[in-house]
Amino acid sequence: MMKQSIFLFVAAFVFFSCGNNSTTAEQNTEAANEYSMVALDELLENPDAYVDKPVKISGLVTHVCRHGGEKLFITTADESNSLKVTTGGDASRFDVAYEGSTLEVEGVLKKLVIDDAYIAKMEDEACAEHEIVEGEEHESSASMEQVEALKAKLTECGQEYLAEYWVENVHHQVKN
């Protein structure tokens, strides 16, 4: 009985282990890319020139997301502007201990276009959420507040859309 048990267990384990043999191909491709160092101020001055390109940036970490550690913010040398960095590559989460440290990040600059269509979609989702969680006013009102804030910001800037930029991490290193 004992032998049967072990045999079955090992057989089943091997069965479940089969069929997954491609994990490092993407990582190797990413590693092959060259990351050129860009000053954060320079990047934020003309971000469209770097969208979807590999960049290497460095800056003081001013905030790390407290819950999932999925994003952090680094500030420019003159502290006038900051950029979001999201997880990916070698970081599945950022440690809160990074706050106050200088971080060097190799990653890819991403862009999100926030136009009327995007805000309308967001508003629909916020309304649906409001219907679902009638008793939880805080959650639903927060989403609606975001929508209203974006609307106001879009009107204020007088352009067709707002752009949000961030760097998706591939490799990062704490410098001090």
Partner: protein
């Protein structure tokens, strides 16, 4: 070997082997379900102090940052400071920060430490280790299906899958569908 015996052996041994993983995922699952109620990864404490130091942005230095830390009784190792805006100064220390309103002199002292136990469980639940753990957790997830399916056929007769078990199984499948219809 009869199929029912094989079924029982699989159910039993996979159940034993993945007992630990099941408990890890169950506990961290509850913790992550309540992210809007608490932070399972960090314990964050805060307090407010009033400081009596004139802060001039153009003439600020590490020494002055250290003096402020002394005044608000923060003994952790100093890291860096920065001015998020014209009216605010933030000083970082190991395991926390001090945010000062330059107009009122009010200092918001925040300390952060890793929450033991839950942080480790969530680390696994989120598959933060990746690499080999991805394989292991995939095997675990697949094994949960195996344990569930073999569990259907453990008991014979009217309390088994041909009797009461069938009704309980149907209700257990219908409930998530009801939630989906209601909330999606």
């Amino acid at each position: 070997m009869k199929w029912r015996k094989i079924n029982r052996v699989l159910h039993r041994d996979f159940g034993f082997f993945f007992f630990g993983m099941t408990i890890i995922y169950a506990i961290s699952g509850i913790a992550l379900n309540h992210l809007h109620h608490w932070n399972p990864n960090y314990v964050i404490d805060s307090r407010t102090e009033n400081i009596k130091i004139h802060i001039d942005r153009t003439d600020f230095s590490n020494d002055r940052a250290l003096k402020i830390l002394e005044q608000v009784n923060v003994k952790s190792t100093y890291k860096q400071y920065y001015f998020p805006s014209q009216d605010e100064l933030k000083i970082f220390v190991n395991g926390g920060s001090v945010a000062i309103d330059l107009n009122t002199g009010e200092a918001y002292v925040e300390t952060i430490r890793r929450r033991p136990f839950f942080r480790e469980l969530n680390f696994l639940h989120y598959n933060n280790p990746r690499k080999l753990y991805t394989w292991f957790s995939d095997i675990f997830a697949s094994s949960l299906m195996l344990i569930a399916i073999t569990g259907l056929f453990i008991i014979k007769g009217k309390k088994g899958i041909t009797g009461r078990g069938a009704w309980l199984t149907i209700v257990g499948i219908l409930l998530p569908i009801v939630f989906l219809i209601g909330y999606l």
